[in-house]
C-alpha cells in the first residue's frame, strides 16, 4: 500500500509538472506577438505572384511601392522593420573583442516605432531619422554597457553599404523598454534608420512592409484595393508585375505563414498542429495520471469495504463518508502538487529546460500553474466521486460478508482505464518513433556531397571589400599550410539554405524539338574547386577549372535533375546574371535547400572576369568558406588553426566576428525546430509511458494480491509459475491487442499531418508499429512478472492455510 500510494503520488506530480511545462510553452506560442501594440490592426503585406521565376510569395516591396502604399487613403500608417532582426557583430572601445547585436533597420522611424508600440525610457526617439543613430533595448544596454552617446563599430555582416564612413559605426541615441519575451521584438537588441533606395525605384525590393488601417476598414478590403490600385499603377509606370496582395496581422504571423517563400517570412514561425499536439499530450498526461489514481482508489475499495460499512453500521452518515473520500483525494493531490513544484524547480535549473523555448520558472508563469492546479483539483474531485459513491452503495450487512475484491464491474472498469493508457502509450510511441526517423532522415539523407570532416566559416563581409581582388587564394594557401586543412572552397552564401534566389532565364543553344527555352533555376556562386572540395560527383561533361575564373562569363554546372527537367546539354548556355555562361557539365543531385522544400533546378556558377573580382563588383564577394580537413587530424587543433590563421590574416577582426562550425552543426540548426519537437515528443512520450506503467505496476500489485488464493489454488491444481505468469499477462495482452488496433490508425493520422510539412519524408515503415507493440507488450509482461513474482512463487499451501 505505501509503495503503491507513493507511485501514484509521484505519477501525479510528474504529470502536473510536465503539464505545467508544456502549457507554459503552449501559452508562449499561442500568444506569440499577440501582446504587440495593435497586433490585430497591424499587418505584414505579402505579395502573391510569379516571383523570380519560381516562388509564389514575396515578403518584400520596392521603395516606390512602399511610398505608393503609404498614399492609399485607408492607410493610417506604414512601417518597415525586419521583426527577426539580423545578428551583427559590434564592438566598443570598452569591449574590443566584440559582441553580437540582433538589430533591424527601420524605415519611417516615427511611424514604425509608434505602430509597434516602442516605449522610450532614455534619449530622444526623433533622432532615429538620422543615419547611424540607433535605439537600443534596456536589456541590451545593460548587457553590453551601452548608454546614450555610446559608439559601437560594426564588425561583421554589415548590411550597411560603405558609401559613407559613418555607416561603419552606430551611436546610441535612445533606449527603449524591453518587449515581452513572447514576441519577435522581445529578441531585438536595437533598431536603426535605413533608407538607401530612390523613392521612384520599383526594381529593388528590400522592405518588409507593415500597414495599419484607419478605423472601419478591414484587411480584406485593403488587400482588394491594394491589388487593384497596384495593377493600375503598374500599367502607368509600364511594368509587368502581376501581384495579388494579402495581409497577415502581426498577431497571426507566428502560425499563418505561407510555405515556399523566398528568403522566408520575417517573423518567428510555429506550427499550430504541433502546438495543439503538445497541449493534447499535456492533457493526456494528466488524464493518465488520474486514471492511475482512479484505478488506485478503486483497487482499495475491497480493502476498505469492511471498515466503511462497519462505520455505517455504527451510525456514520453516507454523506460524511463520501466527503471523507473527496477530502482524501484533495490531500493526496496537494502532496502531489508539492512534489510537482519541486520537480519544476529542479528542471528549470537543469539542461532539460533548454528543450523549451521559454523559461519554465514558476515565478514567471504562476497563473498557468494555478490553472493547472485548479484543473487537477477538479479532476481529483470528479475522480473521487465514483469510488465514494460506489463504496457506499452496498447494503452494509452484505458488504461486510461479501467479496467485492474482484467484482466483474470493478474489473471491467479497471480494464477500460488501463486500456486507455495503453492506447495513449501506443500512439505516443509510434509518433515519437516516426518523428525520430524523420529527424534522422533529415540529418542523414544523402545530400549529394561528402559531409565528413567538413567545416564552414562565414567571414565578415567587410574583409572581402578589397578593391580589385579577393583574398581567397592567399587565405586558402595559409589555411592549407601545415597539412591540417586538406582544401578550401568558397561560396557566396550558405550552400544549404532556404534563402536562395531563383531566377527565370532563357536557354541558349540547341534544344530538342518542342522543348521550352525558359528555365527557372537557382544559381549558386562558388569558387572553381567547390565541387571537388565538397565531393560532388560530375556525371557528365567536366568540373570547373581555374580557367573559368579568367574567362569572361564563367561557367555553369547543373544537377542531373535540372538537366532532365529542361533537356539541357553541354552545348547550352544560360545567363545567371547579365551574360550567358556555358554549361560545362552536370553533377549528381544535391540537396541545397532544407528537405521541407522541393529542391528545384540548381546550378553551381563559377563566375568569370565579367562578374567576379572586378572593382565595384564587391557584392559577389564569396566569404563562405568550406574547409575539408585532412583525415585523422585533431578537430580542436584544426579549429584553433583556422581561427588563428583568419585572425592573423585579417588584422583587426574580432574573435566574435566569425564562427568555425562543422557542417553538420549548421545542418542541425536548420532543423532545430524538428530536433526540439522530436526531443519533446520523445521525452513526453517517455513520461506518459512511465506514469502509465507506474499505474499498471500498482494495479498488478493489487490484482495479484486479490488473486493470491486463486493463484495458490491453480498451483495446487497443477499450474506452473510460468502458467500463472502467462495467465496474468494474457489478460493485459488481450487489452493491448485491442488498443493497438485502435491506436495504429490514430497515430498514422497524426504523423501524416506532421509529415505534410516536409517535401521529403521518411516512409511509414511497418516495423515501427511492430516495434511499438513489442515494446509495450514486453513492458507489460515485465511489469506483470516483477510485480506478481512474490505472490506467484510463494508456497501455495501457506496462502491456502492463511485463508483457512
Amino acid at each position: 500500500m505505501p509503495v503503491v500510494a507513493t507511485l501514484n503520488i509521484v505519477g501525479l506530480a510528474v504529470a502536473i509538472a510536465v503539464a505545467y511545462m508544456i502549457f507554459v510553452q503552449v501559452h508562449h506560442e499561442l500568444s506569440f506577438n499577440k501582446d504587440v501594440k495593435d497586433a490585430d490592426r497591424s499587418a505584414l503585406i505579402i505579395g502573391k505572384g510569379d516571383f523570380f521565376g519560381g516562388s509564389q510569395y514575396n515578403m518584400y516591396m520596392s521603395r516606390a511601392a512602399v511610398e505608393f502604399v503609404k498614399n492609399i487613403p485607408m492607410v493610417e500608417r506604414v512601417g518597415s522593420i525586419n521583426l527577426l532582426g539580423k545578428r551583427r557583430g559590434a564592438c566598443t572601445e570598452d569591449n574590443p573583442d566584440g559582441f553580437v547585436l540582433n538589430m533591424s533597420n527601420i524605415l519611417y522611424p516615427t511611424e514604425t516605432l509608434s505602430m509597434f508600440g516602442f516605449e522610450f525610457v532614455d534619449g530622444d526617439s526623433t533622432t532615429l531619422n538620422t543615419y547611424g543613430n540607433v535605439a537600443i533595448s534596456e536589456s541590451a544596454a545593460a548587457k553590453y554597457n551601452l548608454k546614450i552617446g555610446s559608439r559601437f563599430a560594426h564588425t561583421y555582416n554589415e548590411e550597411i553599404p560603405d558609401f559613407n564612413d559613418s555607416w561603419n559605426y552606430g551611436v546610441v541615441t535612445a533606449v527603449y523598454r524591453d518587449f515581452p519575451e513572447n514576441c519577435d521584438l522581445g529578441n531585438m537588441d536595437a533598431v536603426g534608420f535605413y533608407d538607401r533606395n530612390d523613392l521612384n525605384d520599383w526594381s529593388n525590393w528590400n522592405y518588409n512592409v507593415y500597414v495599419q488601417l484607419r478605423e472601419g476598414y478591414t484587411f480584406a478590403e485593403f488587400d482588394s484595393v491594394l491589388t487593384k490600385l497596384y495593377a493600375e499603377e503598374m500599367k502607368r509606370v509600364k511594368r509587368d508585375d502581376v501581384i495579388e496582395y494579402l495581409t497577415v496581422p502581426v498577431g497571426e504571423l507566428y502560425y499563418n505563414q505561407p510555405a515556399g517563400v523566398d528568403y522566408g517570412i520575417p517573423s518567428s514561425r510555429g506550427d499550430l498542429s504541433t502546438t495543439i499536439s503538445l497541449a493534447a499530450i499535456a492533457v493526456v498526461l494528466l488524464l493518465v495520471a488520474f486514471i492511475n489514481y482512479l484505478n488506485f482508489v478503486m483497487s482499495l475499495i475491497p480493502l476498505r469495504m469492511c471498515s466503511v460499512n462497519t462505520r455505517r453500521i455504527m451510525g456514520e452518515q453516507i454523506v460524511s463518508l463520501r466527503l471523507n473520500f473527496i477530502a482524501e483525494s484533495f490531500i493526496f493531490l496537494l502532496v502531489a502538487v508539492a512534489v510537482a513544484l519541486f520537480i519544476i524547480e529542479v528542471v528549470s535549473g537543469s539542461a532539460v529546460s533548454s528543450l523549451f523555448i521559454t523559461s519554465v520558472d514558476v515565478a514567471k508563469h504562476g497563473g498557468i500553474l494555478l490553472l493547472i492546479i485548479a484543473a487537477a483539483m477538479l479532476f481529483a474531485f470528479v475522480v473521487s466521486l465514483y469510488p465514494a459513491w460506489y463504496i457506499t452503495s452496498f447494503s452494509p450487512a452484505l458488504a461486510l460478508n461479501g467479496n467485492f475484491g474482484r467484482s466483474r464491474k470493478g474489473a471491467m472498469l479497471r480494464t477500460i482505464l488501463i486500456g486507455a493508457q495503453f492506447l495513449v502509450s501506443f500512439v505516443l510511441i509510434i509518433v515519437a518513433l516516426f518523428v525520430w526517423l524523420q529527424n534522422r532522415y533529415l540529418m542523414s539523407a544523402d545530400m549529394g556531397f561528402k559531409r565528413e570532416l567538413l567545416l564552414t566559416v562565414e567571414l565578415p563581409r567587410k574583409q572581402f571589400f578589397i578593391e580589385g581582388q579577393t583574398p581567397r587564394d592567399e587565405l586558402a594557401d595559409r589555411l592549407k599550410a601545415g597539412g591540417i586543412v586538406k582544401d578550401v572552397a568558397f561560396s557566396n552564401g550558405d550552400f544549404v539554405t532556404n534563402k536562395r534566389w531563383t531566377v527565370g532565364r532563357t536557354i541558349e543553344g540547341p534544344l530538342p524539338p518542342n522543348a521550352s527555352a525558359d528555365i527557372m533555376f537557382s544559381p549558386f556562386q562558388v569558387s572553381w574547386n567547390f565541387l571537388q572540395v565538397l565531393g560532388v560527383d560530375i556525371v557528365e561533361g567536366r568540373d570547373f577549372s581555374p580557367e573559368e575564373v579568367q574567362s569572361g562569363n564563367g561557367a555553369l554546372i547543373f544537377t542531373e535533375a535540372a538537366k532532365l527537367q529542361y533537356h539541357l546539354s553541354t552545348d547550352n548556355s544560360v545567363a545567371p546574371r547579365g551574360t550567358a555562361a556555358p554549361i560545362v557539365g552536370f553533377c549528381r543531385n544535391v540537396n541545397a535547400r532544407s528537405l521541407h522544400e522541393k529542391q528545384g533546378a540548381f546550378a553551381f556558377y563559377c563566375m568569370g572576369q565579367d562578374e567576379h573580382g572586378v572593382p565595384g563588383k564587391k557584392y559577389y564577394a564569396m566569404r563562405n568558406l568550406y574547409i575539408r580537413l585532412a583525415a585523422g587530424v585533431d578537430v580542436a587543433d584544426a579549429v584553433a588553426h583556422i581561427r588563428k590563421t583568419i585572425i592573423e590574416y585579417f588584422p583587426g577582426i574580432t574573435p566574435a566576428a566569425f564562427d568555425v562550425e562543422f557542417f553538420d552543426e549548421v545542418l542541425r540548426r536548420q532543423y532545430e525546430r524538428e530536433q526540439r519537437l522530436g526531443l519533446m515528443v520523445g521525452l513526453f512520450a517517455f513520461v506518459v509511458i512511465v506514469v502509465s506503467f507506474m499505474g499498471l505496476f500498482a494495479i498488478v500489485l493489487f490484482e495479484v494480491k486479490f488473486m493470491e488464493r486463486e493463484i495458490a489454488l491453480r498451483r495446487v491444481n497443477g499450474a506452473l509459475v510460468s502458467d500463472i505468469l502467462l495467465l496474468l499477462s494474457s489478460r493485459f495482452i488481450m487489452v493491448l491487442v485491442v488498443c493497438f488496433i485502435v491506436a495504429a490508425p490514430i497515430a498514422t493520422c497524426f504523423i501524416n499531418v506532421w509529415l505534410q510539412e516536409f517535401a521529403y519524408k521518411t516512409p511509414l515503415y511497418w516495423w515501427v508499429y511492430a516495434a511499438a507493440f513489442l515494446a509495450v507488450a514486453l513492458l507489460v509482461v515485465g511489469i506483470v512478472i516483477v510485480s506478481s513474482w512474490r505472490v506467484v512463487t510463494q508456497n501455495p499451501v501457506e496462502v491456502i492455510n492463511e485463508v483457512q
Binding site: G402, N403, R406, R408, R709, E710, L713, R714, R715, V716, N717, G718, A719, L720, V721, D723, N795, P796, V797, I800, N801, V803, Q804
Partner: protein, 227 residues
C-alpha cells in the same frame, strides 16, 4: 497409488522460533487404501498431508510414491508429478469465486492440455456422477456448502487421480451434507482411488480402512477401522 514415508521431518524456521511440525514420521499407504489421519490441532496432520500431496517438501526423511523417491523434488518437478495424479479436497472448499462451477471443475484439466471438447465431456461426466450438473453455470457463492464441497470433490476427481488428499472435508458442513461427502469419498475409494484424509471427526474416520494418530509430530498409533 502407494505411499511410503520414512523418518519424515518438517521444521518451520523463523528468525525467532523453530517449530518442529513432523518429527520422524514413517507411514505407508497401500494402493487403494482409505487412510484417516487424526490428532489434536497443531500435531502436524495438515503438514503431513501437504508433503504427501507434493505441495511441500520435508526438511528430512524419505517419501516414495509408487516406489519413486519424491522428497526433495524441485517445485517445478513436484507440480509436474502431481498434475492429474493427485486430487485435493479442502475444508473450506477453495473454489475460485470468479469461476462458474464447470470452470472450477475444469481447472486441473487446463494444465493437462486437454482439448476444450475433451474437458467439456470430462466435466459433464463428473458433474452428473456427483449430481451437480444443474448447477454448472452457477458461481460458488450461489451454492450451499454441501454443493460447494461436491464441486471441490468433482474438481479433485475430474482427472481420475490415483490419490485424493482430503483436509477435513466435512469441517464446514452440517451432518447431512458431511455424510453425503463422506459417502462420495467412500465410493471413490471403492472404485480404486487411494484416499488420505485428515479429520477431527471420529465419525468420518470410520469411513477409512485405517486411522493414523499423530501427536507432536509423531505417529503414536495406527488403528484398523471397522466400518
Amino acid at each position: 497409488m502407494k505411499l511410503l514415508t520414512e523418518n519424515l521431518e518438517k521444521v518451520f524456521r523463523t528468525e525467532l522460533v523453530e517449530t518442529v511440525a513432523l518429527n520422524g514420521v514413517s507411514i505407508n499407504v497401500n494402493d487403494g487404501e482409505f487412510v484417516a489421519i487424526m490428532g489434536p490441532s497443531g500435531c502436524g496432520k495438515s503438514t503431513l498431508l501437504n508433503i504427501l500431496g507434493l505441495l511441500d517438501n520435508p526438511t528430512a526423511g524419505s517419501y516414495k510414491i509408487d516406489d519413486v523417491e519424491v522428497a526433495g523434488l524441485k517445485e517445478r518437478e513436484r507440480t509436474a508429478y502431481r498434475r492429474g495424479k493427485i486430487g485435493f479436497v479442502f475444508q473450506s472448499f477453495n473454489l475460485i469465486e470468479e469461476m462458474t462451477v464447470e470452470e472450477n471443475i475444469a481447472l486441473p484439466l487446463t494444465y493437462l492440455k486437454y482439448s476444450s471438447a475433451e474437458r467439456k465431456k470430462m466435466v459433464e461426466e463428473v458433474m452428473l456422477s456427483l449430481n451437480i450438473a444443474h448447477r454448472a453455470k452457477h458461481f460458488p457463492n450461489q451454492l450451499s456448502g454441501g454443493q460447494q464441497q461436491r464441486v471441490a470433490i468433482a474438481r479433485a476427481v475430474v482427472t481420475k487421480p490415483g490419490l485424493i488428499l482430503a483436509d477435513e472435508p466435512t469441517g464446514n458442513l452440517d451432518s447431512k451434507n458431511g455424510s453425503d461427502v463422506m459417502s462420495i469419498l467412500s465410493e471413490l475409494n471403492r472404485q480404486g482411488t487411494t484416499i488420505v484424509m485428515v479429520t477431527h471427526s471420529k465419525k468420518d474416520a470410520k469411513y477409512a480402512n485405517r486411522v493414523i494418530n499423530l501427536f507432536d509430530g509423531l505417529v503414536v498409533d495406527t488403528l484398523e477401522e471397522q466400518m
